[in-house]
Structures are given as C-alpha cells and as structure tokens.
Symmetry: C2
C-alpha cells in the first residue's frame, strides 16, 4: 500500500468551475427559441494493471488515479494489502497504468464477465459475493441528525450536478460532514473513486457513512461492504437482491432519503432517532434534482 | 432472421401485476414506524452465443429472449442479417442460449472491454463507433403533439416503475403511441430488449421514436443509431459526447422532456411545432417520478 501521512488526506469536493469537466452546447427549447446549457463531458480512459489491458471506462475524467485503484479493488484484482509501486496517468493517451509488486494475470478472469444493474462489470462477481458473505461490518451509529445534515449539505453545496445535470454523485461522510464527494457520468465510477481515495490515504471506513445518488442494487451493496463501510444511504430506491445482501451482512441500508423522508430496510439497530422531525424541512422544489429522474 | 407474420407482432407494455418481478419488503420509516414497500427483483441471467459464454447480466428477468438478441445485436456480435436458429431459455438455470447458422467466436473480442457510462460493456465499442459514423438515418418527423401525447401516456400508464420504483424504462413509439415499453433494473437492458423485439418481429424503425428514462450518453446514441431509429427522447439530460455523436449522424436528440419543457440539441429540423403550448400542462407532482433522482 502507498504510504501517506494521515494529516495530508485531501478533502475532495466537486469543482463545478473546472472547465475540463463541462461543455456549453446550444440548441432549441419547446418554443423553438435558442438555448445554451452546460453538459458534462464523457471520455474514454483505458486502464492497465501492470502489462495487461483491463478495461476502457467512460468517465468525466477527474481523479483517474483514484478511479483506477478503486476499480481494481472493487473488482478484486487488487487486494487491500497489495503494494502499488506506481500509478501513471497519461492525459494525452487517456491511459492509466497501475503497477504492483505482485505479479498479476487476469486473463482467465477477464473472459468471465458480469454486467451489473448499475453497471460495473464484475469479472469476479461470484468471488465478490463470496467475499462479502464472510465480512463482519463494524459497530457504528447513524444519528438521524447526521443524516439530515448530510443530505442537506450534499443537496445545496456547489456541484457539477447543479451546474450540468446528468451526473451521479457518491459522498463519503463522517457524521454529517462530507469528506470525499465524487461525481461521474457513471455511478460505478463515482463509487470506485471513493474506494481509491480510501485505499490511497488509508482512511478508516468504520466511522464513515456512504451516500449515493444512485439505486441500492446488489453491486452498490457489494462495493460498500468490500470497503468496510457499515452504513449506506441513497436518495433512490432499492432492488430486492440489494436488500437481501445487506441483511445477510448486517449493512445499514437507508433509501428514498429526500427531505424529511427515508426508509430503512436493513441494519436498523444502528439508527438513533435523535432529530426532532418538526425541525426538518421537506425537500424544496429548489433542491429536487433538476435532472430528477429514475435513479441509477 | 427469424420469420414472423407482421400481423402477429405483440405489443409490449409493463405488467406491474406480474408477481415474479417485484417483492414486498418490510422496514422502518423516518419516524421508526414499520412500513412495507414493493421493490423490483434483480437476478443474474447468463447469455451464451452458440457454445460460448458471453456475459452474465443483472436483470429483472422478463423477456430474456429479446434481451439476449438485443444485447448481441447492440454489441455487434449478431448481425441483422444473421440467421438465428434457436433462442433457448432455461428459467431454472437462469441461462439463455442464442444459436446461429453462422459460426461465431468472440474470444478475441471478449478480452477487450469497454465500460460505458450507462453502462453496457462495449466489447466492440470502437467497431460500433465506426459503424455508427457511416449510418444514414431516415427522414422522419417529430410533431410536438406526438411528443406530449407520448410522454403523458408513458408517465400515467401502469408500470413497474409506478409500482416499485428503482427501475428504468425504454419505450418505442409510433407517432404518440407506445408499441413496445420495456423496463429493467439496468437501463442498458431496457434498450437491448427493444432492439431484440425490433429484430425478432422485423419492425420498421424508420417511423419510430425511442423514449428513455435514462441519460443521453454515447452508449444510448450508438444503440439508437444502430437500430436505425431517427429520433431519441429522454426526460433526463445529456453528455457532451452524446450530443457530438448525435450531431455527426443527424439523430434528432431531445432531452429534459418534462411536462411542457424540452431541449433539442441535434436534428432539430425534424421537429414540427404543431402543439399549442397553452394546452400542455406542466408536469404535476403526481407524475414527477417518485424514484426521482439523477438519471442514468
């Protein structure tokens, strides 16, 4: 693992002013009038692990190193105790190379592919399922006061989403405060960047809460558990398998978290109802997501 | 291609009463009170092309034959002039096998993988891009009266989405009327089922409009163009590359279509503003999607 000074862990928040991440495009609206809007970019990034080409991802393009590390960790191609000797990113070639001390060869695994709902390709989805089933998640608590502080902060702080829409966000929080907020055109990328950040900076997952704008599908549960995070919150809904997996491992699973409302379907024993609901606002029209749509 | 009598083309609409597609789960709400909700199922389906295992998809599980054919067509593993001799589905094993007259071998292709934003795996994403760039889309028109009829119908007709949330929809329409409305936990699956249905029943794509609940990313543009459909509409937003591809091939691209509002960013010449906007309602709270979230 890369050694870092804990004191230097960088907080990650969206940078809607970064001109590499959005483009202005012109078109017409329903009246035929000319309009100009911002849209997020989407570009290919090819990932190598040592000498082997692993995958080409469509990404907004920020944090390629975190994305590369997180993808490999979440695919079980990189172990948490592996020694990464170098992460090399070439902006022109749109290539990122992760080098490890250990020799790696995933030719056999790369032949076996799973397309998840959300939809990371689980080359090792079966392996991951097994790994997840033997996990013991840490004790933790989710105070509802943190939950409301967290969702309010996420919905109101500047983001690419508020600037350009059509993008997913994933936010690692401590108590009610975001410490790593990633966005990407693929929601699997946003969560993989979080995994890369945790690994790169040896961040303790046990006292963290993970928030996602996307749905609580099997893939999202597996990744959260693999990262060792005991609590997962989403403004979106659930799938049946996602709920089943969360219950198997005792992950606290909270969905449909909007304004005052939420539903918990697993690990409710971690939830402490310390917030007086009379002082929580319903979600205002302003903070309903403008891209508002079915999640995922 | 499988021969079918045109007269027998089945209309496909969601069946929210199908008990195999949703599950009831119990949990607690923000007040700590017990609640019971419906959630969509999500299960693995493994696809073989002749003797070769291609991919395992996470799907809600309806229409496995359309999904299998559409996936292979959209990955360019099956050509529109290929003769499919059999599509065999085994419900117990969760396996679907597509057999063709032509011998197929995608071992080399299966090693090369692209993960799209939305996120079909483009094993042949580069190939597809090339194929798309040489396409000539048919002349067609999009009357705004059709557009509003279509979105109103889709938002109000019974669906798994309205029953259980957390699901994407893709709807093929003729003028303002849905002829094939598919839903899936993966939006790539919903569009692949449409492709399979078109192929299976030799449906003419030239006079059709494709509607998706998901974002207008590069993947969605490529699939629409590959199917030969000249008009694509979404309630969600755009990515920059999606817009660029649509403009290259002259696809009519309409996004953020909610209530009265929409934005067209490509192929505006097909749009005929025949609807008096004074008679179109804004989207009511009732028909804002309850799963409402960032799209994808």
């Amino acid at each position: 693992m890369i050694e870092t000074d804990k004191a230097e862990v960088p907080l990650i928040v969206p940078d809607p002013t970064d001109r590499r991440l959005t483009e202005r495009v012109t078109g017409t609206d329903q009246t035929g009038a000319a309009v100009e809007i911002s849209v997020p970019v989407e570009r290919p990034l090819t990932l190598y692990l040592n000498a082997q080409e692993i995958v080409t991802m469509m990404t907004i393009g920020d944090y390629p190193e975190y994305l590369a590390l997180g993808y490999l960790l979440n695919q079980n191609m990189l172990k948490y105790d592996d020694v990464v000797t170098e992460v090399e990113y070439d902006d022109d070639l749109q290539v990122v190379v992760v080098r490890t001390e250990r020799h790696t060869n995933f030719e056999a695994k790369l032949k076996k592919r799973t397309q998840t709902s959300g939809c990371a390709q689980g080359t090792a989805f079966g392996d991951l399922l097994e790994a997840v089933e033997s996990v013991a998640l840490p004790k933790a608590e989710l105070r509802t006061s943190w939950l409301y502080q967290m969702t309010h902060t996420i919905n109101t702080m500047p983001s690419l989403y508020l600037e350009a829409g059509a993008i997913h966000g994933c936010v690692l929080c401590k108590e009610g405060t975001p410490v790593c907020y990633t966005e990407d055109v693929g929601r699997h990328n946003a969560v993989d960047k979080i995994a890369g950040w945790i690994y790169r900076h040896r961040v303790d997952p046990a006292d963290k809460i993970l928030y996602t704008t996307g749905r609580l599908t099997s893939e999202m549960i597996i990744k959260t558990v693999r990262m060792g995070i005991p609590i997962l919150v989403s403004r979106s809904g659930f799938t049946a398998w996602g709920v089943e997996l969360a219950r198997q491992v005792g992950l606290t699973l909270v969905g449909r978290a909007r304004g005052k409302r939420f539903i918990a379907l697993s690990g409710e024993e971690r939830i402490i109802h310390d917030q007086n609901l009379a002082f929580v606002e319903d979600e205002s029209a302003r903070h309903k997501r403008k891209g508002e749509d079915r999640d995922d």
